[in-house]
Amino acid sequence: MTNSIVNFANQHRRETGMLGLLFILVSITTIGTIEEGIEGLFNSMFLTPDNLKNLARTIGIYGIFSIGVGIVIITAGIDLSVGSLMALLGVIFLYFVTPPGTRPDSALARGIPEVSWPVAVFWILVIGTLVGFLHGLLVGKLKLQAFVVTLCGLLSYRGLARFYANDTTVNVGDASQDLSMARKLGDGSLGDVLYGNAEKGMLHNVPMTFIYLIVFAVVATIVLHRSVLGRYIFATGRNELATKYSGVNTGMVIAIAYLIAGFCTAFAAIPFCIYTGSVQPATHGAFFELYAIAAAVLGGCSLRGGEGSIPGILIGTTILIVLRNMVNLMGYPTPLSDAITGGVIFIGVLVDQHGATGFKRLFKRKPKAA
């Protein structure tokens, strides 16, 4: 028994370590937010149902696109365009569901017909997937550098989103059609969708985004760790040349990885746009690509490629979200939030790579050569 646990920990060293870090964070937050009269477990704010629900909803959204970015990172690539793409897709999605007259006047606004929201969702997924595939072809087939391709995406999609929206905010509330079901599916809980309310108990309070994440995670885990495509993704990330010498079309494997990332981004874009109630093209989804990369790296993906796992990415995402929640709940000044996040990622990665000696090495005086 202990042996098998040790074996498991050995094979999934990074994940186990990060799970430990998560546990520590959760403990600190739980203890740090204990206050009399709070309804949560142990009187901790962190463990109140409301907070857990908020956490699960956010983890759902961030987790979905982090999985996409993680898969790209495993092919030794990178995707910097996530946040901007979400802004662009958000604008387009809201254009699809609002009547042309109420949109900000722009070329795109005039070109998009009003459709019912499920059709709009379909188109958003198609567009996101195609954009991802385009990135993939540029990186995999034309051998452009992923950093550059997606950096151009980062700049241009945000620019397009701002241009198409005349740099003004587009609101979910401007839709004339009934979006209540879309709201429930995007921002509500299981109970909302099934019974119209979320009062009935724990399970009914699970946010829909979290359920989507579980579905994504299961599918992605099987694809990545059990399927032929997954093996090719790891092999390409590790050693593209050797994989090519084994008859694998590595360019296409890379293209598919970006395609998956595009799909995940598009899928997450819709609940996120409902979550914020509007799309301010200049700030919507800003820095999301970096959160995704941070989550993937925390979860054991190597930027050199060929390393990583879906459970790891999920743990990484959860650490990030819990950290932010911790900063908010423990009443630290908001501006410190990012500093703390950065600090913890750094400590996590440092300890993971070098153990405690990493610190010693960091501060060791360099012996002077004679």
Partner: protein, 334 residues
């Protein structure tokens, strides 16, 4: 087994490091758990980070100091609705009973504002979400502020003349309202407002707008900057051209360059909002509603549920004093 021990030692080390970080952070801020009886928690959430909100915070801290039964959390947004949602949801979990918020995007945030209004007393500050369930709105009447600028213009140009107005984005509510008020005030006088030039918050373009106006209208008599950065940039353009005595400049808000130029007589005057009052009054009102159970009506909020705080006109001789006041506010929150 070595692996297990190494894992444990790693975790332990991680824990130590994190605890250190946390304790350092706790000591330099974090939740204030003062002894004695439990205080009611209120919160103020801004839309973004700006000096304007630093002055508001000074008012908030003043109100907090005057009452010993409240503590106020001041949260700074990052310009996105997502961040405000994250902040407010966490505040509600923390048991905050009243929130004053400056929504980044009032119409799009209706749903979430209503949700929070169910759980806490909610008022909007500086920008209003009219059709939400907020208790009331506290802010500037920008039409009135525009009118005040118009009055300043009349003072400066008793004989009338051509005037150009400048702003960042022409379709923003406060720009539209200020411009409207400005035009109302000078109606029927010899002052002619030619147009409103926009710069999309590009400072270079803002200055070029001013320069081009000076070139195209050699007889221009007045220039009005509707956003805080406009007046200092207009001033630079006018100074460059050497027509300081010929062109009167009116500004908005309390940019230090504007305030200094007012006392030198280079800018005729500016209309400032009172963010300090926003902060102070918002907290006082929230406390009255949450602790004393008062309604907006008891607080003498007009039936429109919008309370305007008058803007202040700064003329020659008052600029540096006001600047000192601003700096004192900033200093008071440290």
């Amino acid at each position: 087994m070595t692996l297990m021990t190494s894992l444990i030692s790693r975790s332990a080390f991680c824990f130590l490091a994190l605890t250190c970080v946390t304790s350092i952070l706790t000591s330099c801020g974090g939740s204030k758990k003062s002894g004695g009886k439990k205080k009611v928690r209120l919160a103020f959430v801004t839309n973004a980070s700006a000096d304007f909100w630093a002055y508001a915070q000074a008012g908030i801290r003043q109100a907090e100091a005057e009452f010993d039964d409240i503590e106020v959390e001041f949260k700074v947004g990052d310009g996105s609705a997502a961040k405000q949602r994250e902040l407010c949801e966490a505040l509600l979990v923390r048991g905050v009973k009243g929130i004053a918020i400056s929504p980044t995007n009032p119409s799009g945030q209706k749903e979430m504002l209503n949700e929070w209004a169910e759980k806490a007393a909610l008022i909007t500050v500086d920008s209003d979400a009219v059709d939400s369930n907020r208790k009331f709105y506290l802010g500037t009447d920008n039409v009135a502020a525009g009118r005040q600028a118009g009055e300043l213009l009349k003072e400066a140009l008793p004989n009338g003349g051509k005037v150009m107005a400048f702003v960042g984005l022409g379709d923003q509510a406060n720009a539209v309202e200020r411009y409207r008020g400005l035009k109302e005030a000078v109606e029927g006088t010899k002052i002619e407002i030619i147009d409103l030039r926009t710069d999309e918050v590009d400072f270079g373009k803002a200055r070029r707008n001013a320069e081009d106006t000076l070139t195209n209208y050699p007889d221009i008599a007045g220039m009005v900057g509707l956003w805080s950065y406009n007046a200092p940039l207009i001033l630079e353009a006018v100074r460059d051209k050497g027509v300081l005595d010929q062109v009167k400049i009116i500004g908005f808000d309390e940019d230090p360059r504007t305030l200094k130029a007012i006392d030198k007589g280079e800018i005729h005057g500016t209309v400032v909002q009172k963010p300090y009052e926003f902060g102070y009054q918002a907290i006082v009102a929230l406390r009255a509603m949450v602790i004393e159970g008062k309604t907006p009506k008891d607080l003498e909020i007009p039936a429109t549920n919008q309370k305007f705080i008058e803007t202040l006109v700064i003329r020659k001789g008052e600029g540096l004093n006001y600047l000192k006041k601003c700096e004192a506010w900033k200093a008071s929150i440290k």
